[in-house]
């Protein structure tokens, strides 16, 4: 594909193409609906013949995330992708990566749950993603794409953030974004780093101990409590820095708005349409779209909500991000939530009706 060419493809396919183009060293994954196109596309692209990228279908999601752990511990740009039940299996590996401070990327193309659930889209893993679904005090950087273009753009971004902070980074997508087809401009091909560049960028990695240094040990284990507290305080300091520097969000039509939608990912696309419909009906409403779900744009939400008459959080789950919105707004403005469950995707008209029922009509 020529550079800067506009092509039409699914979100899942865009992840695969972007991975090859951003110099990813390895992808280790397992099939699960609705994201199997990621590994299928990579398998068809045969990047091991072009860039030398490793693509391996692992025996489970458990194996996949541990392969990412191993590759990341060796300083390489490695990633995996899965969907909700598979990501649940990966929580152990993700926590180990956070504890060992490893830079890996993983994609969750969410589907309905809980448990085996359904193959239809949902946003039900917000808690799992932002609260850290594994054990202990940690966070992963969470990016929420809302378009196929963002699926393509966020792969390199996720890797850059992961390596900048030596922390796992997640692209929290869903079945709609994964399966829908849109125009996308794919990034130009970036070469994979050489072995020397890897060792230079990651002097902490376990790549074979040369005589000029002590052995490197990649581990999340520390049995001495004072040391373990130090490790945890270091992690917390890192997270504080990420919170300060890496918040990303988008606002639409908020300047003259009386009300606010807050929505991420595919729900934000629905909410965008709902803004149109509501304004046609005379309701002045805007949209606040968090792009990083962790770090959550707490101050920015609070600032935007200030002086508004009400906030409706639209998400395809039973109400998860609404907690973070309520924490940010801290009671200053009424906050209500709307969503559908079971993999049902709400219509924009439904969202407007909910807005009226819960906020605008109640305040007349």
């Amino acid at each position: 594909m020529a550079e800067q060419e506009v092509v039409l493809m699914k979100g899942n396919e865009a992840i695969a193409h972007a991975a090859v183009r951003c110099g990813c060293d390895g992808y280790f994954g397992y099939p699960i609906t609705p994201q199997s196109e990621v590994i299928e596309t990579l398998s068809a692209l045969k990047p091991w013949e072009t860039t030398g990228m490793v693509v391996l279908q692992a025996e489970s999601e458990v194996a996949s995330i541990n392969m990412v752990y191993g590759g990341a511990g060796a300083g390489k740009r490695v990633m995996t992708s899965s969907s909700s039940p598979g990501v649940a299996l990966m929580q152990e590996g993700i926590a180990y990566m956070a504890g060992a401070e490893l830079p890996g990327v993983f994609v969750n193309v969410q589907r309905g749950g809980p448990g085996l659930g359904t193959i239809q889209p949902s946003q039900g893993d917000y808690y799992q993603a932002t609260r850290g679904g594994g054990n202990g005090d940690y966070n992963v950087i969470v990016l929420a794409p809302a378009s196929v273009q963002e699926m393509a753009d966020f792969v390199d971004l996720a890797f850059n953030l992961a390596f900048k902070y030596r922390n796992p980074a997640m692209i929290l997508s869903d079945g709609i974004i994964g399966q829908m087809m849109e125009k996308v401009v794919l990034p130009p091909q970036k070469p994979r780093r050489t072995d020397e560049e890897v060792i230079r960028e990651c002097p902490w990695a376990s790549t074979g101990r040369t005589k000029d240094r002590k052995p490197n040990v990649i581990s999340s284990l520390e049995l001495r409590p004072e040391e373990m507290e130090r490790v945890n305080l270091r992690l917390q300091a890192k997270y504080a820095e990420i919170r300060k520097k890496e918040v990303r969000y988008e606002t639409l039509f908020c300047d003259d708005a009386d009300y606010l939608f807050v929505a991420f990912g595919s729900a934000s696309r629905l909410a965008q349409k709902a803004v149109e419909i509501a304004r046609e009906q005379g309701i002045k409403i805007g949209l606040f779209r968090p792009i990083t779900l962790w770090p959550f744009p707490t101050q920015e939400v609070a600032r935007m909500a200030h002086g508004k008459k009400g906030v409706l959080v639209v998400e395809i789950n039973a109400g998860q991000m609404i907690d973070d919105v309520r924490l940010a707004i801290n009671g200053e403005v009424p906050v209500e939530g709307f969503g559908r469950l079971g993999g049902i995707v709400p219509e924009p008209e439904e969202i407007v009706e909910a807005l009226k029922e819960k906020l605008t009509l109640m305040q007349k």
Partner: protein, 256 residues
Amino acid sequence: MDNQEIIRPENLVYDKPTLLNDNPMHYCPGCSHGVVHKLVAEVIEEMGMEEKTVGISPVGCAVFAYKYIDIDWQEAAHGRAPAIATAIKRLWPDRLVFTYQGDGDLACIGTAETIHALNRGEHIAIIFINNAIYGMTGGQMAPTTLIGQKTSTCPYGREPALHGYPLNITKIASELEGTCYVSRQSVESVASIRRAKKAIRKAFEASMKGLGSSLVEIVSTCSSGWKMPPAKANKWMEENMFKFYEKGDLKDTTGL
């Protein structure tokens, strides 16, 4: 001739390898881990691979293997070492990549990772310390525990109706297409230690030559878990474990 005339550098015939550092090892007195660590360090040194080796340590008593052998290590989650090794070897093909795992790690929680990495023929070597018990956590039953053997979770002896049968995973490994070398050894006598070292060396060389995956099981003792002093534990192993876990090369297509 007195001792001082013999104890001279030029007369040294055996010492612990330098790669096995001076940190005192936390293993129980008489534990087989110490001997195998020594052999692994010797083989890496003899192959000149000190700067190009990555080891993956397990969850188990040997979780701290990284404290004793001065190479780069990754600490794995319980059972996951072969997956980690798979990625490292595929991404750094010129490195010697080996895992070091106990029986609970490799043959219980990690069964899937073990079988699939071996079956894919990843160019890695797996060193499998089998003492038929969960040592680190205090002596519970493992899938490798023998019928009649007593542990803290089968205090009246393992019985098939309640606990199922011992798992001979090395035999399964020898039947997988991806493996090129599968061997079972032990380290209780000088002769067996010499054979075990040869097996480890062959496994490491096979992985560097890209001949497939290797598994070297070391049938071992666990004095604490079995509640026996070391010499008695060796005897118990000889009389009971070797019958079910037969020693020797189960598969060797390496040509080495």
